[in-house]
């Protein structure tokens, strides 16, 4: 009984929150067009879904996130591994990466608009920038934090350099790498929405900007809910992967 209560207790604050929202809106302190009740937002969600508007825009955003994030993360991991195992490479390249890393992904927007133009590649490039550097950094840290004694132990058991990399170094840095991926998976969504708001005519961010110009607060709220859920799902995929390492430490 206690277990069940603990499992579902998180539901109550959400219900209370939604109920309060509905109530405040219905009392009529604020005009409904600025603060629609939750039920109206749900209705809008339903209409946007059956009309296909929501799914179309979500699909474009999702596509950009997946492509940009995959490329960004993969290159981050790859370069991170190289720099993690080779201290010469690390010394050579870490200053330039340290200079580029603090630039927020959205800071690249004006530059990329001129270089790339306003097309599908622009948001993908931005997501790439937002995922590459943090994943790179986490991968290097992950590899460098593996105790070198483990590598010696594996060497005495007969492992070659390549085998040490694949059986010891990478698995032991897995946790760090996944943590980096998890944080950046959510960040990719935040970046893509912002980019679509300022520069791209399609996607959830663009939908929100159009809704704003038409004073459709309910649509904006639908978009925000969808965005929040997408962020959560993306991060949770990696939380599940992180959990697989719980027996290790």
């Amino acid at each position: 009984m206690i277990n069940l209560t603990e499992k579902i207790i998180w539901v109550f604050p959400i219900i209370a929150f939604l109920f309060g929202w509905e109530l405040i809106s219905r009392i009529g302190i604020f005009p409904t067009y600025l603060f629609p009740p939750f039920s109206a937002v749900l209705l809008t969600l339903y209409f946007l879904t059956i009309e296909g508007v929501l799914l179309n825009n979500l699909a474009s955003s999702l596509f950009r996130v997946i492509i940009g994030f995959t490329f960004g993360a993969c290159s981050g991991i790859l370069v991170g591994i190289l720099m993690g195992i080779n201290s010469k490479l690390n010394k050579t390249f870490s200053p330039i990466f340290s200079l580029l890393m603090p630039i927020p992904a959205l800071g690249w927007v004006p530059l990329f608009m001129l270089w790339i133009g306003i097309n599908e590649l622009l948001p993908i490039a931005l997501v790439f920038m937002c995922s590459f550097f943090p994943v790179l950094y986490n991968t290097i840290t992950g590899i460098r934090s593996v105790e070198t004694d483990y590598l010696e132990a594996s060497r005495t058991l007969g492992a070659s350099n390549m085998q040490i990399l694949t059986t010891i170094l990478l698995p032991l840095s897995f946790q760090n790498i996944i943590t980096g991926l998890r944080l950046e998976a959510g960040m990719a969504w935040r970046v893509i929405i912002a980019a679509e708001m300022v520069a791209i005519p399609s996607g959830i961010g663009a939908l929100m900007m159009r809704a704003e110009s038409l004073l459709r607060v309910d649509v904006i709220m639908v978009c925000l809910i969808v965005l929040s859920i997408m962020c959560l799902i993306s991060e949770n995929i990696f939380v599940k992967l992180e959990e697989r390492t719980k027996h290790w430490k």
Partner: protein, 353 residues
């Protein structure tokens, strides 16, 4: 299994080490922290740079990298791979060598039985006790059927009882497999219990090599003597068995009752800290109790070292500082001393050659 020979090994911590370790031998490198014993072990493993030659079975292996030297290494901190369960840890070396799955499984099962951890194969190292980790590490090192087993103070972090148990088991396994083994420790008792032969190291040099009894009863130099705890060593003039595994031994004008194992005793030894000293007759049976006179007292912050003359012998006695702070403990004081019978070691004639 091969012999190991070290010829003129030198590096940052070692100075011209020459050593020969015999086939199937359990050889102990004994020394204080920083004496170079672990470095020497790592040199044999090929993990450290060195000058000189390491030979296995008379063949130089200097150019062979660690992974191909055919060694098993039991590290001080064990280094079980945290992301692998016990089975995967033990089978690691076999998987690296692409053994077939069925072969690996047979071998692992054989090993877990050998070290007594059949029930733990699915556990991750995080969920193992110290002693269990120890066994897994040993099984992992043995899985690749190494020609030489190197052990670096593997029982350091265990309680004394578990450590003793594991030492006995290690000795049994080592003898069963007949594997040449080199064991590093700073613990004299551990060395005595395990070793076929001991090398005592200090400051990167070997001070003395020999069987435990040899080293204990004829320390080669002052360092070794100090390291052993500066025992009182007494030459026996006469030895008469008196039954109950005891013998009466005449030495320096006194007769001492000592443990007797059926062979004529050549020397006996007793640690300064195992001799009790009092100004009055010590209660209890009048065995191994003698009258003597203090020749000198040397006080440090924790102990008082006294030299006591009994008949025509001189014995060093160590007491905790609290029990001899009184002014009465000085040169010339008449005292009673008693040797703890259990702490007397005997060296038989046959062991001394």
């Amino acid at each position: 299994m091969p012999t190991v020979e070290l010829v003129g090994i030198s590096n940052y911590a070692l100075k011209q080490i020459n050593l020969k370790i015999l086939d199937k031998e359990l050889f102990v490198l004994l020394g204080k922290t920083g004496s170079g014993k672990t470095t020497l072990l790592n040199t044999i493993a090929g993990l450290k740079e060195y000058e000189g030659t390491v030979k296995f079975d008379n063949k130089s292996i200097d150019r062979i990298p660690t992974e191909n030297r055919g060694i098993g290494y039991l590290f001080q901190n064990l280094l079980l791979f945290p992301h692998m369960n016990v089975y995967s840890n033990i089978s690691y070396g076999l998987r690296i060598r692409n053994f077939r799955k069925t072969e690996i499984s047979t071998k692992v099962m054989e090993l877990v039985k050998l070290v007594g951890i059949e029930h733990l194969v699915d556990r991750y190292p995080k969920y193992l006790s110290g002693g269990e980790k120890q066994r897994v590490a040993l099984a992992r090192a043995l899985a690749i059927e190494p020609r030489i087993l190197l052990l670096d103070e593997p029982f350091n972090n265990l309680d004394p009882r578990t450590a003793k148990h594991l030492r006995l088991e290690l000795k049994r396994i080592q003898q069963n497999l007949g594997i040449t083994s080199i064991f590093v420790t700073h613990n004299l008792l551990e060395a005595e219990e395990l070793a076929d032969r001991i090398a005592i190291m200090n400051e990167g040099k070997i001070q003395q090599v020999g069987r435990p009894q040899e080293i204990f009863f004829s320390p080669g130099n002052d360092f070794v003597r100090e390291f052993l705890g500066a025992p009182n060593i007494l030459e026996c003039e006469h030895c008469t068995p008196i039954g109950n595994d005891l013998a009466e031994v005449k030495t320096n004008g006194i007769s001492v009752i000592a443990p007797y194992e059926g062979e004529h005793i050549k020397k006996i030894s007793i640690m300064p800290s195992e001799i009790f000293m009092s100004r009055y007759a010590i209660p209890g049976p009048n065995v191994n109790m003698f009258r003597g006179k203090i020749i000198s007292v040397n006080r440090s912050s924790t102990v008082a070292q006294s030299l006591v003359e009994i008949e025509n012998g001189k014995y060093s006695v160590e007491l905790p500082i609290e029990s001899c702070q009184s002014e009465v403990w000085k040169e010339g004081t008449e005292v009673f001393v008693k040797f703890r019978l259990k702490s007397i070691r005997s060296l038989a004639y046959s062991e001394s050659h």
